[in-house]
Amino acid sequence: MGKFIRKIVIYVSVLFMLIQLLYAFIPYHWGNPYFSAKISHLEDSVNKGYNLYFFGSSRVNRQIDPFVFDSVIHEESKINIKSFNLGSPATFCPQAYYLYEQFLNSDIGKNANYCLIELMPVNAISDFFFHQEQTNYWLNLGELKFIIEANFNNDKISNKAKKKNIRRYLTSYLENKFHIGHSGKQIITKNYYDKRFVGQRYDGYYPMDLELRTVKDELIVKHLTQISEEIKKDSSILNNRLNHAIEHYNNIADDFDSVHFNRISKMIENANELDIHTVFFISPRSSSQELINLFNAIPNKNKIDMANPFLYKDYYLLKYAFDRGHLNENGAQLYSVDIAKELIQLIEKNDPNNIN
């Protein structure tokens, strides 16, 4: 028995070390095929002069059009901006923060002057995303510590939900340590990096309408059609979101997640040291009371208010919606214009030196 257990322990140790050695040489973003495709594109176009990057989920990838955004900035100000959308589907908090921090330390990040980051709540891993490579490849000890602390600090969720969250993140952490489920897709799939998400103009913008028009995979077509039809059939979906957003903005309080806030403060501080202006924003139709409270606590010069239903009610109109959570192409145009105008105001107020 002793011999058997000894052998198993030695074997697992050798396997563990070998795996660590193999994975030590791969880039930080490899487990996110959409983000990787974008980074790969940026690496091939180092001298394109990008100096503003958007980070976040599909609500960034699908809704912010750098072409429109840059045009507005150039037409309405003398600010020197060339932007790239690094938003990627299913890239939630804190994965988005992890990617942002790693990006700043990379060669591509060296030219950045501005980074606009979508503010999201610390994600609870859903059944669908549990055990997926993209959910755990970035989950190091520091991120795990942040998640556990934020989770314990959040008195809005039940103890049962907290336990479930922590169990799932611990499992994901172990999966990452042993690289379980990592790189299989890369071996099997010829084009693992999903280049569609770099967008038609190679600026990282990939609207959902465009995907529906061009994608050939029946399952994706079915899914996109279904979610876009849903809001047409039930008008209360968008109205409810608007009413909730109004309610959140009417009840702003000092009650925010201090762990998350400290992380944001640290990110701002670190970026300042690199001469990068970090700006947080909440995507429309994705607010919650905790998120609005947290947003409210962020210094004014590091945020732009895009989810405010009193300022931007149009984002809740059916004609600008693709599905319950995302804007369509028309909505994205409107949103890109608005976000550019907000940024001009912010820069003119806080960074007058950056205006040519």
Partner: protein, 478 residues
């Protein structure tokens, strides 16, 4: 709990340590641990269906006891009927209720009578077909006086719920497995190491082969009208290797896990895709189910004795019932009937036991004749799997018509080469191991330890690379 999950990777060593270090002094304690671990294993998926296992266990335990104490024929028959009614009743309700209602309605609609459908929203309890057959065999064997009933309820509960084979077999007979719960188990190093190898090979077949083939098979079968004949052939081949990797992989993990605890389970697969005729295929595929049907259905019906029509009838019954056992869908029934059609000529020409040895025994490569036999048998099997996998009979027919229609023949422009490499590895390993119990059975003397370790490491790394989502095993649904 899935064998290919992190949960099981944590569960197994804990149970192993408790089994060999905490409870090893008492057989009773070890058996209690197995029952508790097995119920925990099953309850991880659904706690409410544990009641079904418990009811089956209690019922068949007492039916067994009463059967042995009674000589009254009527009473004995009544007891057996009770066991059959409850066990098959569970199966009937959970697995077949909606199928019968749907077909009942279809028949009435055909004759112009509209009936309001009244189907139930039933979840199929995982593994119900496996453990009900296992407990049924216990009652039937006692009824036939081929087995003495156990007086040890804990041992019996452990036999019914033994976690390695609880949800997808092998379907064990009480005669083989139950006595192993009475004897003190000893840890044997060689047995445990071989068990680990078998687990490793099973995981490779499930995670690396089956799950990857499944991705393509699912896309092609679910959208078959979009694909050319070449792709459909590929889809059928992918499913052929998916179902083999999935099910034989599960059996390997189950057998290997049992060996870690000092148990020996029946072999369930014997490299069936190297079979030279369909009879040999059925002696090598899902052996525990085939022999169950042989012993409890085919032989009682008269087996191969009697006139030609009786033989044909018996073969049809056993294959159709076997198909129906797999699922409440006409696709499975047709799959069973198709196999009966394949089998009958062999039976009638008395050549069904022609190939009872391993192919190309003692030789490195098969002869041309053997290659032809293997390929033709394989083609028939693949054809059958199209019915097995299709969502409906019209889909299966549509799928096959597209393959065989001349205008649809087109070679797939893009092939997933990596899968072919992985399939090649599996086929080569299994060909060289075809006379062994499993793909990784090897003697320490013949292969230097450095090579053995390299093989283990390579397989482990492949398994870990593909593990991820923890997809469930196909046979859980049966």
């Amino acid at each position: 709990m899935l064998f290919n999950s992190l949960d099981f990777a944590i569960f197994l060593p804990i149970v192993f340590i408790l089994y060999w270090f905490v409870t090893q002094k008492s057989l009773k304690l070890q058996n209690i641990l197995i029952v508790v671990a097995s119920y925990f294993f099953y309850g991880w998926w659904s706690k409410r269906f544990l009641a079904l296992i418990l009811i089956s266990t209690v019922l068949d335990y007492f039916v067994g006891r009463f059967l042995s104490n009674s000589n009254d024929k009527f009473k004995r028959k009544l007891l057996l009927v009770a066991s059959l009614a409850v066990n098959l009743g569970f199966l009937g309700v959970f697995k077949y209720f909606n199928f019968f209602i749907d077909n009942f309605i279809a028949v009435f609609t055909f004759f112009g009578k509209e009936i309001q459908p009244n189907t139930l929203d039933i979840i199929l309890p995982v593994g119900i077909s496996f453990y009900t057959f296992q407990t049924l065999s216990y009652s039937i064997d006692i009824y036939r006086r081929k087995l003495e009933p156990t007086k040890d309820f804990i041992a019996f509960a452990a036999f019914v719920s033994f976690f390695p084979q609880l949800v997808a077999g092998p379907i064990e007979r009480a005669k083989n497995l139950l006595p192993q719960f009475y004897k003190k188990r000893e840890f044997k190093y060689a047995q445990a190491i071989d068990g680990m190898r078998q687990i490793l090979w099973g995981l490779f077949k499930k995670v690396v082969i089956a799950d990857n083939c499944a991705q393509y098979a699912d896309i092609i079968f679910n959208n078959y009208t979009e694909y050319s004949g070449g792709y459909l052939i590929l889809g059928a081949l992918f499913f052929t290797f998916q179902i083999y990797g999935d099910f034989s992989g599960y059996s390997d993990i189950a057998i290997g896990t049992s060996r870690l605890f000092g148990f020996n389970l029946k072999r369930n697969f014997a490299f069936p895709y190297f079979s030279r005729d369909i009879a040999e295929f059925w002696r090598r595929w899902h052996i525990s189910l085939s022999t169950w049907f042989r012993d409890y259905l085919y032989i009682p019906l008269g087996g191969s004795k009697g006139g030609t029509w009786k033989k044909i009838r018996n073969i049809f019954i056993i294959f159709v019932v076997s198909g129906f056992w797999h699922g409440a869908n006409w696709t499975f029934i047709i799959w069973g009937a198709l196999n009966a059609i394949y089998f009958i000529p062999l039976l009638l020409t008395k050549t069904n036991r022609k190939n009872t040895d391993d192919v190309a025994q003692g030789k490195l490569f098969p002869s041309y004749r053997e290659i032809f036999s293997m390929l033709s048998t394989f083609t028939l099997v693949v054809l059958g799997w199209v019915f097995f996998r299709s969502n409906s009979v019209p889909d299966a027919i549509g799928f096959l018509s597209r393959i065989f229609s001349a205008e649809q023949i087109a070679f797939p422009p893009e092939l997933p080469l990596a899968i072919f490499v992985l399939l090649g590895i599996q086929l080569i390993v299994e060909w060289f191991q075809r006379s062994k119990q499993h793909g990784l059975e090897m003697s320490s003397e013949n292969i230097p330890s450095i090579f053995r370790w390299l093989i283990y490491l390579a397989l482990c790394m492949l398994i870990m690379a593909f593990l991820g989502k923890g997809t469930s095993f196909i046979y859980f649904q049966f």
